[in-house]
Subunit: 323 residues, 2 copies
């Protein structure tokens, strides 16, 4: 009798605060998903032990031998070395041989990459980039990340760190980034943090009435801006227009770099919908060389945010080379 064996991958998405995980089959169906705190563990070793404990029942349920490997999306994760290197938002400082720690504990092969690269793989296997060989995913959350696919392959660059589009300079001499110290980088404007900063600046000088004026400056975060904009507040909407202009200009540059078929925007900031997308599209097109105009598909991700991260990480496993 021939037994059909279902193959699985473990997908893990490590964020600064929380880590999400799940078991994924070849069809992109997630089971046994859960989460644990990232920041609660002082060392990577302790974290990996906790992750293993959390996943053990699931591994036993599907059978260790049916699991092909573990894919992990994490900040500052180096695909080539398997190390997490100097991640500013994690407790584990320096260069941590993360993939080795995981393989040792789980007795499974492990591949890591940064979260935005994982998101790009997820979009390609299961999302808006299905069947595409040339596209860029921009993640717009607390920070701004990117995963760039050309000719069907993620760009990792010489050292594994390619694709830091959030840190490209789009306003030379502009807003100083709170953590990198760079002036005028995309992330300083188009991240949730950047949106809050823009709103605080605009409210301070706005002459028209605004719901935002009812908040103390430090109480204005991107959620407040979103809520006010949705209620028709003009200043809050102007924040999105400005953010969209800067993002659109940046996207034009990205298009002239790799000439992608599509750019997919992903993450919490995209909740703003047309308030963001309309100025993004306008200013992207306006800054493109004629040969690129009206050709690039600009869309929001259709994947659920929690699922996308796990699916993307698991896609690393399907792409693993087997000896």
């Amino acid at each position: 009798m021939i037994e059909t064996i279902q193959e699985y991958a473990i997908g893990v998405d490590i964020g600064g605060t929380n880590t999400k995980y799940g078991i994924v089959n070849r069809h992109g169906e997630i089971s046994h998903n859960g989460r644990l705190s990232t920041s609660a563990y002082a060392t990577a070793g302790e974290f990996v032990a906790a992750l293993h404990a959390a996943l053990l029942p699931a591994i036993e349920a599907v059978g260790l031998r049916n699991i092909k490997g573990i894919g992990i999306g994490a900040p500052n994760a180096n695909y080539f070395t398997g190390c997490i290197e100097d991640a500013p938002n994690l407790n584990w400082k320096g260069v941590v041989p993360f993939a080795s720690l995981v393989t040792e504990k789980f007795t499974l092969p492990c591949t890591i990459t940064n979260d935005a690269n994982a998101a790009a793989l997820g979009e390609r296997m299961y999302g808006a980039a299905k069947g595409m060989n040339d596209f860029i995913v921009i993640t717009l959350g607390t920070g701004v990340g990117s995963g760039i696919v050309t000719s069907g392959h993620l760009i990792y660059g010489h050292d594994g760190f390619a694709g830091e589009l959030g840190h490209t300079i789009i306003r030379p001499g502009g807003r100083k980034h709170w953590s990198t110290g760079l002036y005028g980088s995309l992330e300083a404007y188009a991240s949730a943090t950047g949106i809050a900063l823009t709103a605080r600046e605009m409210v301070a000088t706005a002459e028209k009435p605004s719901l935002l004026k009812e908040y103390a400056p430090e109480a204005i975060d991107s959620k407040v801006v979103f809520d006010c904009a949705m209620q028709g507040d003009e200043v809050a909407q102007e924040v999105y227009r400005f953010t969209g202009q800067i993002l659109g200009e940046a996207l034009a540059n990205f298009v002239m770099f790799t000439s992608p078929e599509a750019i997919i925007l992903f993450g919490g900031v995209t909740k703003a919908g047309d308030l963001l997308m309309n100025p993004v599209r306008e200013h992207m097109e306006k800054n493109l060389l004629a040969v690129f105009r009206n050709k690039v598909k600009l869309t929001f991700s259709e994947l659920k945010e929690a699922d996308a991260a796990i699916l993307g990480a698991s896609a690393l496993v399907w792409a693993m080379k087997t000896e």
Copy 2:
């Protein structure tokens, strides 16, 4: 008796004014090189006929059957389609099926790409990028072009037009480009034309004495700026400092995109040497995320300009797939 057959490629570099060509062997040795006018021919068909006539004695000398193909670097050349599309600097308007015309006339396979991509292939086979899989070549001449190699492959993008880094916006709302109409693109500053424009602007407001003041504004071109700078003229040197700053900022963005091992600067503008390179290096490093700092090799091309274009075009032939 076994006869050792030497294999050859024809390399052709089409510029707006002149076209250079040569026969190249596997070792990168160029023979039978020559040039003809590009602009003298009203149609692509006439030009191809003239090119064929010019090359015929060379083809007969080495033997048609020993020539593997023709590689051509040309403005707005599309690698995928073999067409030259809407090249602003050529007489042949619209979409010209250039590779087909060449193959028909020469009875040889033909591959085309833009001149900067060809330069990148030349650097990889014979120049400063020998053995490198991740690098960027920036051509600094009348215009600013680029060839981007990641994981050993040129980035062509979805439609064959990737790598237009000269048109990325580096000063939003800045100088209007004379032909694209874009505001603040790299080419508007870092090309020979851009350098002349910067010099004219600086001379108009400079309070210190300057050799440049002896020229009528329209007589100041990049060669004049270069000559004055070499004579120690402070205003002319400031032109290079400013140009280098803008180019350095742009290179920082490019590094954060593909994380290359090296960036190679090529073309007439690089004659300025350290006058250009020092500010380029300073401002590139200053605008990089920490993880990329002091890692990227920044060098001038070591290939002779005329040779590089022909070598690069011929490299297209060695990369051709044979059925």
